[in-house]
């Protein structure tokens, strides 16, 4: 067993769990929460870029872990979604759409951020999109954890992503990629922009894959 590491922030995380959980936590539940924290600290160690600090949970992850797949109480979900919306950042130059070819490469690429990956820079990361979503119809190897994104732009009536008519769909899609918790508190999708997994240029390429009428997704 690895040596017990000191982990000053764990106390805060445990408190957060108690503070967030509704209905009121039973005493043995609180004890179990504390034992869980102790177990996690005692079981993991740093390896490569993946430090034990990755076990620290923010309010959203703590609440969604506690819920174990059940829906959060509405007020709690709304608070998480609102905080996520406040964290949204729009593209700095106002451009939402990049190159769908680059987007397809990112969507295919499932690498990045593991302890065997050397760099934490967005350039070293893929989007892992096909792991969970159907996207371009030619790719038969796709996951089903997320909804199908085949014909994403076409089904939403986007013929010109730059047009005012497309604005709502374009912004919704950017927000989803940036921080999926903005519209769904316990979304299973990584927060690609918010967590610094992909940079603006990469997100624009994924936007193009989904929304460009020339993208194979919309054929």
């Amino acid at each position: 067993m690895p040596p017990l590491k000191s982990w000053p922030l764990l106390g805060a995380a445990a408190l957060l769990l108690l503070g967030c959980s509704t209905p009121a936590t039973a005493p043995d539940d609180a004890a179990l929460t504390a034992r869980t924290a102790q177990m996690m600290v005692g079981s993991f160690r740093d390896e490569g870029q993946a430090g034990v600090n990755r076990l620290q949970q923010d309010a959203a992850n703590a609440a969604c872990s506690q819920a174990q797949g059940a829906l959060l109480p509405a007020a709690q979900a709304q608070a998480i979604e609102q905080a996520a919306r406040q964290s949204l950042r729009w593209p700095s130059d106002g451009r939402f759409i990049g190159d769908w070819r680059e987007g397809e490469k990112l969507a295919q690429n499932g690498r990045g951020m593991t302890w065997t990956d050397k760099s934490t820079a967005p350039a070293a990361n893929g989007g892992s999109c096909y792991n969970c979503h159907q996207i371009a119809p030619a790719e038969i190897s796709f996951g089903t954890i997320g909804p199908s994104l085949a014909r994403y732009g076409r089904l939403r009536g986007v013929s010109d992503p730059a047009s005012p008519a497309a604005r709502a769909v374009v912004e919704y899609t950017w927000a989803k990629l940036w921080n999926a918790k903005a519209s769904n508190a316990c979304s299973a999708m990584p927060r690609f922009g918010h967590a610094g997994l992909l940079d603006e240029a990469q997100l624009r390429h994924l936007m193009a894959l989904l929304l460009d009428p020339k993208s194979p997704v919309n054929q």
């Binding site: 295919q108 499932g110 690498r111 990956d117 893929g126 892992s128 096909y130 038969i140 190897s141």
Partner: protein, 157 residues
């Protein structure tokens, strides 16, 4: 109590001993052939080059030969394939993967005591046509081909 491994070890030792005395045909033959490994055929980049290295004529597609394999391989590291033919007088059965760095995967030389339907598992670096080739005693070289798709699987990380 004897384990399976003990028994196998023992039989291996026995076989080795017999072979060293020249009494165990299987191994003796393999040893005799050690110099006969056709390196040129296994380095060839095209079907024509493979056939040249093996001294065969130009191959012709035939319904009497089959390549048995899955339509899709979940992992290219292990793809089950077999070469089969119903024709008599088979000298060699070959398995080839067109898009591998070297095309030829395996050459089988079955005797009359073995059915001409032989299977193994190959690696495929990408989706590719896979060939089964039968070289016959009358000099004909016949083939069957099937496209096997290799998919990207797992989390990809």
């Amino acid at each position: 109590m004897h384990t399976r491994r003990d028994l196998l070890n023992r039989s291996a030792q026995l076989a080795g001993m017999l072979a060293s005395l020249g009494l165990w045909p299987g191994l003796a033959q393999a040893q005799a052939q050690a110099g006969a490994y056709n390196a040129a055929a296994f380095e060839a980049k095209s079907l024509a080059e493979v056939m040249k290295a093996l001294g065969g004529s130009a191959p012709v597609e035939s319904k009497d030969v089959s390549l048995i394999g899955p339509d899709i391989a979940e992992n290219g590291a292990v793809v089950p394939v077999a070469a089969a033919t119903t024709l008599p007088g088979v000298k060699c059965l070959l398995l080839l993967v067109e898009k591998n760095p070297a095309m030829l995967a395996a050459v089988f030389e079955p005797s009359e005591a073995v059915e001409t339907h032989i299977g193994t598992r190959v690696k495929m670096s990408q989706s590719s046509p896979v060939f089964a080739v039968a070289m016959l005693a009358d000099g004909r070289v016949l083939y069957a081909v099937k496209e096997i798709k290799v998919t990207l699987g797992g989390c990809g990380g």
